[in-house]
Symmetry: C2
Subunit: 222 residues, 2 copies
């Protein structure tokens, strides 16, 4: 196990998750070892970056040979908290909420959708795809009973502030926010925003101002 681990930056953590995917791909291709250059090439990073990121938690590469694919997968899964399962709630059973409940990738990646919350009386009390739908006011009680650790909030923006407040009050520490609303959160909670329109708008910015792209700023280069 990693010895003296310092803090890891968000960019690094996000890349680790990309590396993990690459490693699984390599494993599926029957590779035993993979070199930093190859991990980098497949994702448009630099090899130095890959090595530095990985060196944050000890030395798992073999000089002259590369990284043991299986071992590194295990390491990354441990670091990212993926050597266990997580109980997830979907808050808001609209278009996105439904798509998320149906999305099989969640379960495959270790995330079990164990509850849905909505305010629509036509939905509350029923199940959707085998998952019980509760009223949003019940988050606190249900979160405790079902040991929910993560909430994915996908409600209309008008309801977002209130919904996130309830999630926080329920003590659910991990929040993925699909709404465009920004909410301050207390210490010890971890919120990430997924902002579809924001992403589109930075694409349109570059399309309108192709000259003002500084460092060619696609996540994937080369």
């Amino acid at each position: 196990m990693p010895q003296s681990m310092g803090a890891m930056s968000l960019p690094t953590v996000e890349r680790l998750s990309v590396y993990l995917r690459t490693l699984k791909e390599a494993l599926a291709e029957g590779k035993d070892y993979i070199v930093s250059t190859e991990i980098a090439r497949r994702n448009g990073f630099t090899a130095a970056q890959v090595r530095k990121d990985l060196s944050c938690f000890g030395s798992f590469g073999v000089k002259g040979k590369g990284y043991d694919v299986k071992k590194l997968i295990e390491q990354l899964e441990e670091i990212l908290g993926l050597n266990r399962r997580w109980n997830v709630a979907i808050v808001g059973l609209g278009n996105i909420g439904k798509a998320l409940v149906k999305y099989k990738g969640l379960k495959k990646a270790g995330f079990d959708v164990v509850a849905i919350f909505d305010i629509d009386p036509n939905l509350v009390g029923k199940t959707y795809r085998g998952v019980q739908v509760y009223h949003t006011d019940e988050i606190g009680k249900v979160a405790k009973k079902n040991d929910i650790q993560i909430a994915i909030v996908a409600v209309p923006k008008e309801a977002a502030k209130e919904a996130i407040k309830k999630v926080i009050d329920a003590g659910i520490k991990g929040i993925l926010n699909f709404t465009e609303v920004r909410v301050p959160i207390p210490e010890g909670f971890f919120l990430k925003n997924v902002n579809l329109l924001g992403e589109l708008e930075s694409i349109t910015y570059y399309m309108v101002n192709p000259d003002r792209v500084c460092r060619c700023y696609q996540p994937v280069k080369r």
Copy 2:
């Protein structure tokens, strides 16, 4: 109009889109002027950051008073390319694709879904929510005919490489990739990845390693 605009960094561009949303909120509240401190407070940024970002394209603030809300909205919309409409194609009519077609926020923000592409013979040739579904092989032809500028790719990961290749071959310059696959793209194209599992995995990282959060790394602080 902006005088000597230098390159703008991706973080800046992404924040502009947040500012724009804040300004519209302020407008709806009847505010004529807004100060940098207030824009910052609502989003968890610093006031200096807001001012610096905005100063990239000229001086639109009034010293001692703040920013003219209406004027700044217009400016930001111009900068971000939102003073026009965009034709968007959805590639892949699965759960996410369907949710996107139904999502009204797209149209409101200036993005018209004008075509859908899929390979399922049960879908091709029909319409979904009033939008024609074509076979993915027809992207080139349809993109030209319908003047499609942006493609949102939401196909299963096995099909992702191929689908993105077709989008590029069709000359669609803006790509929003909902799959976890990373693809290198040619110059002049702009791709952004939206990675649901990656986001969840950085949340679980912080939940498992609360001590290794460097700068408290939620997009929204305070």
